[in-house]
Assembly symmetry: C2
Homo-oligomer: 207 residues x 2
């Protein structure tokens, strides 16, 4: 059974424990001939998906106990996989959601590392540099590259520590592995969203 998570930039595919990515284009959707279950946050592709007979939208089945208005379906899917903990999807944005006893307590969004890097480059041509992920976060920076790398990475880590308290952190997304290494009681799971999708499919008797 093929699962698809369609974002604004990429499509993430998952089948029998294997996962792979393609660019989020209509052609890459039409190339899929077999039946697939998907979630989609990409408005540009939405109407095309609706018209496909082999594509089944999982969004109507992805409900979560929350008072949060407008929680993205990708975040709902990841939260579905975890009953207790802090879920961090570190991609173009970093979304953070807090789950306790199967209930979603709220969440927040920070720009991802690439978005921050782009932001620096737009503020000043002097700050148009590739962030250094290996800087020492325990000593004050001594040049511009250290200064923007420290100022991009450390605030995210402090925020996640503040949200974590005694809970477990579950990282997913492109930069999830990078951030996970800064924490105790944390794991990286690149298939968190697919685990949530699978869970719902099982609950609904669809697989």
């Amino acid at each position: 059974m093929l699962l698809c998570e369609i974002g604004n930039t990429n499509i993430h595919f998952y089948k029998k424990g294997a996962s792979w990515n393609k660019k989020a284009t209509i052609k890459n959707i039409l190339d899929v001939k077999e039946r697939f279950y998907y979630i989609n946050v990409n408005e540009k592709i939405k109407s095309k998906l609706d018209s496909l007979e082999n594509a089944i939208d999982l969004e109507p089945f992805l409900k979560i106990d929350t008072i949060y208005k407008g929680l993205g379906v990708d975040r709902v899917a990841a939260c579905k996989a975890i009953d207790n903990g802090v879920i961090v999807d570190a991609g173009s944005a970093i979304t953070v959601d807090i789950m306790a006893g199967g209930v979603h307590l709220g969440g927040y969004i920070m720009p991802g590392l690439f978005a921050l890097q782009k932001s620096f480059s737009e503020i000043s041509p002097r700050l148009d540099m590739t962030l250094n992920p290996n800087i020492d976060l325990d000593i004050f920076p001594q040049n511009s590259l250290e200064a923007i790398s420290y100022g991009a990475i450390k605030p995210i880590i402090l925020m996640l520590k503040e949200s974590q308290k005694d809970k477990k952190l579950y990282f997913t997304g492109g930069d999830g592995k990078f951030f996970a290494k800064f924490f105790d009681n944390a794991i990286y799971d690149g298939s968190l969203i697919f685990k949530g999708m699978s869970k719902v499919l099982k609950t609904k008797g669809l697989i």
Copy 2:
């Protein structure tokens, strides 16, 4: 005596305790007929300034004890005004510099609030919203606007608290007043850079 701080967006003027801003254009520089001392980080205006007889660049006089390479002249000027403390210039970027006993210990840079807002809008049209500066930072957000406002503002505050420790915070810049209110042992001083410039002028016997 007229002082000028020229940034990438605005020119800040200061004379006898009064300050005012204009857009950073060559015309607004040429309109100044009296003699003025300036610092400039705007590359587009640099050669024009060099050619003006009534404009005196203070950069050669603004030296600070530091191992930091490439510290912007605006940051040096603000640091010159403070011997001990954490200096935060919250503008299009938020620069943070640590001074102890007149020595600069290092510093870092974060994107400013407007840059973060722009970054969210580029990540997804769903996040194209004006940040709400009045959200409660002690409860988890329950909608997208709260989520991006919390995710923009709170990491900056946590970073500044981490850098502050037992030191005093000195805020300046457009968003300085906003951030100052979250801290004990903190003041806002919109003329910090001009105070540093004046100090150097006095030291060098130029005024």
